[in-house]
Amino acid sequence: MTAPAAAPPSSREAYRDTLTELMPGDERLVCLDSDTGLFSNVDFGSAAGRYLNVGIAEHTLMGAAAGLARSGRMPFVNTMAAFASARALDAVKVDIALTNAPVRIAATHSGVSAGHLGPTHHALEDLAVMRTLPNMTVVVPADAAQTRELVRQSLGVPGPVYLRLGRNATPDLPAGPPPCLGTVQQVRAGTDVAIVACGPYPVLAAIEAADLLHRDGISAAVLNAHTVKPLDTATILAAASVTGLVVTVEEHWAAGGLGSAVAEALSGTLPVPVHRVAMPDSFVGVAGGQRFLLDKAGITSTAISVKVRSALGRTTTSIGGERR
């Protein structure tokens, strides 16, 4: 009997471990915390003096990060996505984005990953908010390995970076090449539809949907948009020009998120239909874990495949349904 494989860490833990590794070797790096608890019991080694906890003070967190960045440092600030994108937004906009300060905003508990903590702790607007800010790079790692890689690559971005991280462990993506920040990564090739997704469960659901659709003879490309801004429009246009149909999937309200970004990219040059699988336009008013809430909201492989079939005019299902 083999021992069970260790559960993969959450993207926030993968981020924390990567930053902890990087800090001693890079004097620029500063870890600014706002009482998140993510760094409790972390040993920063020789970099211990570059960890500062400002307490429950998200505006001050962002402003202080800007001051550090404008003094030659590269601060990683830590808070929940809901507080980064809403509560502290004025400081993010004025102090960080307007000055193009090299601050990395590590935003945990994104989407509905805060689960039963409720809608005050969900962030379903953050992609919309952050990608409207000039100078901001917006990154959504889809698993722990991608998080490690993208955190490292973020050091090379001259301006601010928003890192959208989750609270919980999520499954690893199927093995593939590492992500390259600033690009959209093709996970599957396909000719009938391009499914563009970001974040752990949306990308996994897109891959599963591609498998379901394959059984029905529908060839689905899957694109992992781990960088939402700047959006790699060339890769999306190339896929859309083959498929003529795009479906987007995200753990975010439909307004302003990945689906909007993809539609904006296509509308002027290649106006193919873009269908969205996203969180409904309402607050989540019930308890439940991340998977439960996503299933309830229809961020699932089944919902994606139904949407694709419907868009292709093929109302078949591969789960005992009949072809018409």
């Binding site: 500063v30 003096g49 570059r50 500062l52 400002v54 307490g55 003070a57 505006h59 001050t60 967190l61 962002m62 402003g63 202080a64 990060a65 800007a66 001051g67 550090l68 960045a69 404008r70 003094s71 030659g72 440092r73 601060p75 004025d90 400081a91 004025v94 102090d95 307007l98 000055t99």
Partner: protein
């Protein structure tokens, strides 16, 4: 770099403050007007900082060991521009670019302008950013100081108090805030709108050293700004000022907050200021 901006030969600081006020009045007589009252109340504070206290070099505005000034009350922008011009950060003629379409001299400071450290205008930002500069200086082992100039009404913003608590908790003795206490805001007196008193006690309760001075007395300001900080404490210089200072016909008038001076008012103002110089 080890000193404040030197005065030109044959000039004293009263000449400089008078000229700063003339520049402010001139900008407020332009096509878009300007934040007159809160810029006039600020003049001695900025003059003391640039010409007496801060280690800066207008020829090298980004020198790595310079002291930092953040004008958190961004609506004092034209007061800052006038001071920077007099200090030699850019030619005085550039002040004519104020509010000119396509130019960088907006009502609220923009960091593209030489000497402007950070954008401001949305109130309640400067102190948090100042914490970052102060922490960075400590990490660097630098004796750089950071000065943050706030409006009194600005301290109605909750973010000021969030930052005030963080700054004292972390013992940022290289951080000094200055409050331009002119006692007026757009809709009336600060104490009528949302009272700020007892202001000195409030800041002391937050762990700050408080020094209260006449905000139009450059020597008093210099003394308060230059005195060594208490170990492990940030310093607040509470500068009692008069909104619209220098123009008797608007001093203490709530309507001075933003003014577009008519030609007659402009000449009257300039005559008053020039008389004060002679």
């Amino acid at each position: 770099m080890s000193t404040a901006v030197a005065l030109p030969l044959g000039t004293d600081l009263a000449d400089i403050t008078s000229r700063i006020r003339e520049h402010i009045v001139t900008m407020c007589a332009g096509p878009d007007g300007g934040h007159l009252g809160g810029s006039m109340s600020l003049v001695e504070i900025l003059a003391a900082l640039y010409f007496r206290v801060m280690r800066v070099d207008p020829a090298d505005p980004d020198a790595p060991d310079r002291d930092i000034l953040l004008l958190s009350k961004g609506h004092g922008g034209i007061g800052l521009y006038a001071t920077l011009a007099e200090a030699g950060y850019f030619p005085r003629e550039r002040l004519a670019e104020y509010s000119m379409p396509g130019g960088q001299f907006m009502a609220h400071p923009h960091p593209e302008i030489p000497g402007v450290e950070a954008p401001s205008g949305s109130l309640g930002h400067g102190l948090a950013m100042g914490i970052g500069y102060a922490v960075a200086a400590q990490l660097d082992g630098s004796d750089r100081r950071c000065f943050v100039v706030l409006g009194d009404g600005e301290t109605q913003e909750g973010s000021v108090w969030e930052a005030a608590a963080v700054a004292s908790h972390h013992g940022l003795s290289n951080l000094t805030a200055v409050i331009d206490r002119n006692r007026l805001q757009i809709t009336g007196g600060t104490e009528q709108v949302s009272g700020l008193e007892p202001m000195a006690q409030r800041w002391r309760a937050f762990g700050w050293t408080v020094r209260e001075v006449d905000g139009h007395d450059v020597d008093a300001l210099t003394g308060a700004l230059d005195a060594p900080s208490e170990r492990g404490r940030p310093t607040l210089v509470l500068a009692n000022t008069v909104k619209g200072k220098g123009l008797p016909f608007i001093e203490g008038d709530v309507r001075s907050h933003y003014a577009k001076l008519k030609e007659r008012q402009y000449h009257k103002a300039m005559a008053v200021l020039r008389r004060s110089r002679s």
